[in-house]
Symmetry: C2
Subunit: 252 residues, 2 copies
Amino acid sequence: MDLPKVEIIGVKGIPIIGEGDDLASLIVEAVERMGLNLRDGDILVVSQIVVSKSEGRVRKLEEYKPSRFAEEIARKSGKDPRHVEAILQSSKRIVRMRDGLLICEAVGGHICANAGVDLSNAGIGRVALLPEDPDLSARRIRERIKELAGVDVAVIISDTHGRPLRRGSINVAIGCSGLKPILDRRGERDLYGRTLRSKMICVADELASAAELVIGQADEGIPVAIIRGYKFERGEEPASTIPRSERDDLFL
Amino acid sequence: MDLPKVEIIGVKGIPIIGEGDDLASLIVEAVERMGLNLRDGDILVVSQIVVSKSEGRVRKLEEYKPSRFAEEIARKSGKDPRHVEAILQSSKRIVRMRDGLLICEAVGGHICANAGVDLSNAGIGRVALLPEDPDLSARRIRERIKELAGVDVAVIISDTHGRPLRRGSINVAIGCSGLKPILDRRGERDLYGRTLRSKMICVADELASAAELVIGQADEGIPVAIIRGYKFERGEEPASTIPRSERDDLFL
């Protein structure tokens, strides 16, 4: 019997990434060392931090000269003022600010804490910025994998975001290439033939969350997952189409 | 080589559920007909609609006598006024209301459109309410499965929710039993030995989203998924601990 099954496989053995590393090539090699091959229709979910590192988006904290505004926020939040300065320089907009916590609009319109500027996994005294254009990063990885392995995979760049209304962060897609991030199921019918009224599913975010089930084991150092067996709609819409416009957001 | 792998298996062959059906038993039978067995440590994600049906939470629209308030909202939104009345009666609080769209606090504190009261898959002229206590529903299914199959699975009741900031709905957990819905990774260390500052991950929501990759194929009628190979922390915290308190919500 043909089981409806989706597999999420963590890619082990990717070395610690540095600026200029050919990430796609390191992924292909690691997959091969696991005795696997990438296949057409696989979805590769790549954690933002390794993309940022390969693109040289890690900065020394000492490069940042905090403004008085940054100093003030740092004082309230207990953050390093140079970290705050990096956050402010990476923000397109401050969406909320309270007790020194910052919710910012980052690259691609994604709204998240600290504009995605993170000390974790950046190295001591360093800060990791988001990729300059995560959709472009996804496309480049995808094209390079096609070149190296001859297969057409979809690529998602994932990041861990807090969110309104619900506690705990989840992983979402901040970049993608090769799949429609939002599946439009309006017009499909339910079990009783009734047309579904509104059914737009953000499959890119669901795939990023699914990948976290293997990526999340930080001590194992798994920055990439293969999702295999999920039938997605191909498309070229970027993940920057996922953020809602303010006007369109009933919740806010 | 031992692959870090998580499998998501759709449970096929579950009949259309009616009031009083022993859902756990139908799941166990369907799994067996697929040539599989449930195992200790499996996570069973069950779509809210089949839980609601088995618990007799489907109502005829004609049972609802719309208030004038419901009529007014119906006029603006194009909804059936009896559907609106059902929504209002199921709401603990109206969080946002605009152009006839309703964002409500539903059972367990979960905030979603229409208080989760849905016409889809309810049957013609009918409306499906959420389970009265989805955490209790999850626990009952879990205990019944232990009774029937002798295995300890974790159970998540999932629902599809729109959300602020990002377009497209995703699946989240509105009920759970047997696993900690939020994983607290504060105090763990990153690749460079730096302590992770804040890392609370809502694994219950990520698992619900992962399950949607097989449940979401509506035409296949797959209301249940098995997630296998994910190492979770056991616990008894309910999914009603996931919604943030208003005071605690920096986003709003």
